[in-house]
Structure formats: structure tokens, C-alpha cells
Symmetry: C2
Subunit: 191 residues, 2 copies
């Protein structure tokens, strides 16, 4: 039996995306995006949504570039901090004791200690209401060597990503592999 809850932003899992930007003063900033995710395969694109009042919004609008940094679950405190404090009030990299590194392919910094980074240049911007959606073309992906398995592929389990659960109000982690994608579904086809 289903209960109707009315209109709400609820979906599981919701990724925790720390977005790296530079301001007009060259200061690096890291902000946890309200929302985001991959949105196109070719060209590879990712979206991040921010309110117009945020420093991340101002920086992305100015520099037309950002990085998406995926924190490991051991960085849950830092990832939450990047979302609850404004870069206008603090040097968040310094407080979090994390290291901004200039991207090689776009005009934005990434978080050195996080295992996965997407370097993006802005290709579309959409006003949706409270949030602006920035669509970034993924120009390069950088991943920690330790998260690559013996076959040369990323092992998502080694990334150990967090997810955020809206309404529920918690972060989750520790997921494990349960099935091979684009494969197990074929078992349902009539023989």
C-alpha cells in the first residue's frame, strides 16, 4: 500500500558532489551541490544545481568551469561542511584541511584528497526555479590509482562513495556489488 506525500524532492540514492571553482580573486572554493548527476553520454555531461545566492553559482557563471569531486565515505564530515558553510564566510579548503589543485584541463581547482574528479566546462545553463542547473561537458576524469583494479577498470567499491538521502536526512555508505549491469536483466527474457 502506498502513501501519497505530495510534491517533494526525494530520490535514492542522491550523489554527494563537491564542486570546485575559482572566484574573481583566484581563491579556490569547494561547495557541495544541492543536486546533480550525469545527464548525457556523448558528449559526456554532468549537471550541478546551485541557488543564485551561492558563491559557487557566481564563480561558475564567471569562469565557465567547475570540477565535480566525489568524496569517499571517510570524508563525510568535510563533504557536509562544504555544504553548510558559504565560501564567502570562510576559506573552506583551509578549515577542512584539504588541498586545492589546479585542474589540467579547465579553469577550476579540484580536491586532491578525494578519489574521483570530473573536470568540466559549462556548455548549457538552465533556470529551473530556486536552482540554476549548470551542464558541464566532462573534459577529463581523474581517479586515484588505488581505485583502479587489476584489469585497469575503476572499482566503485574502492571509491567507497557516500550517498545523501533527502527527507530521511542522513548520509549512507558501505554499499557492495550485487549484480552485473546490462547482463542480469537478460535472465528475464523468455527462452
Amino acid at each position: 500500500m502506498k502513501r501519497s506525500l505530495g510534491p517533494k524532492t526525494v530520490l535514492y540514492p542522491t550523489p554527494v558532489l563537491v564542486v570546485g571553482t575559482y572566484g574573481a580573486d583566484e581563491r579556490p572554493n569547494a561547495s557541495t551541490a544541492a543536486w546533480g548527476g550525469i545527464c548525457c553520454s556523448r558528449p559526456p555531461c554532468v549537471t550541478v544545481s546551485f541557488r543564485a545566492a551561492t558563491l559557487a553559482h557566481a564563480n561558475i557563471t564567471l569562469r565557465k568551469a567547475f570540477t565535480v569531486n566525489v568524496p569517499a565515505d571517510r570524508h563525510v564530515r568535510e563533504a557536509d561542511y562544504f555544504g553548510v558553510v558559504s565560501g564567502r564566510d570562510a576559506d573552506k579548503f583551509e578549515v577542512a584541511r584539504l588541498t586545492p589543485v589546479r585542474s589540467t584541463s579547465v579553469d577550476a581547482p579540484y580536491v586532491d584528497e578525494f578519489p574521483l574528479v570530473l573536470e568540466c566546462r559549462v556548455v548549457q545553463v538552465h533556470e529551473l526555479g530556486l536552482h540554476t542547473q549548470f551542464i558541464g561537458e566532462i573534459v577529463d576524469v581523474k581517479v586515484e590509482e588505488g581505485c583502479i583494479d587489476e584489469t585497469g577498470t575503476i572499482d566503485a567499491g574502492r571509491i567507497a562513495p557516500l550517498f545523501y538521502a533527502p527527507v530521511d536526512g542522513h548520509y549512507y555508505g558501505g554499499a557492495t556489488r550485487i549484480a552485473k549491469a546490462h547482463s542480469i536483466g537478460h535472465e528475464m527474457r523468455p527462452q
Copy 2:
């Protein structure tokens, strides 16, 4: 040390979103979206991306509505099936032995057996390249009673969502709560 992988669609976690639509012939269809996620808080909006060649794309374009259905991890086989077979070649609800139910608020069916449903009407459409991004305003959320805790809130752990891991090529599940959101980050603020 980070390794550069070039441009790729990689992000963790990526949600597994089964999208319900009706065709011109009223036939219900369920297709796993290539990509998607929440993108705006007010109005509450979610995006799903499909290739122009898909039945889901045709149906959403025609009916201006869709549902987003979140499968529990026990439905990994059905969720994968909905992504590897076209609704033009099979009655996917019938093969998967799942039940299409007409939404109360939009012109689209939902999957009765899945724990969480977002009923959406299309408000924006963006051509990104290989994929079209449909932005749906969430008109209603429906959740299984058993996923609501004693305080009346959704417990994401009871939903037991899957996530898809691009490049890695597997589904993951079994995540557990690790911290309270918009809370643990305050511990980093200088006292």
C-alpha cells in the same frame, strides 16, 4: 596519485530510475533511464535522459508526463531488464510480472511493486547530444507504507535502493546510515 582517464561518464552513486510512460496506444511502458536525478528544490524537479530512438523518449514527448520508479535491490533483475530491452519489442511489464498502475496526478503509469514513485509532468526539454534531458516537475510522491518510520519520515534504508556504477559495470546495494546530514559538517567549524 591520480590517473587521467580522459572524458568519460563516471560518477558514483548513479541512481537506477525506472521511468513509466504511456504510448499513443495507451500501452504502459517501463524503461530504465540512461541518466537522471533531482535538479531543483522549488518547484521540486527531477531529470531523466533518454536517446531519441527510445520508446520512452517518444512517449514522454507525446504525453508530457512520466513517473520515476525507484526499485528496491531485490528488483535488480527487473530494473536491468527494463534497460536492456525495448518496449517496442516486448510488453515489459508482462515479461517482468510487474503491475502498471495509472498515476492519480499525471498521465503515466507507475510500477506498483517498487517502493518509491515520483509522478512528474514535463516542464523543460533540453537537447544535450546523444541524450535528451526531460525535466519533470514532481507533482506527487508515493511511497510504500513499510518504508515510513515511526516518526512519519521515509527511512531510505527500508527503500533499499540500488545504485549503478558506470565503468565498473555493476549494481551496488546494501548501504547503511553513516552520519546525519547538514549536521556532522558543523563539527569542522572553528570553535
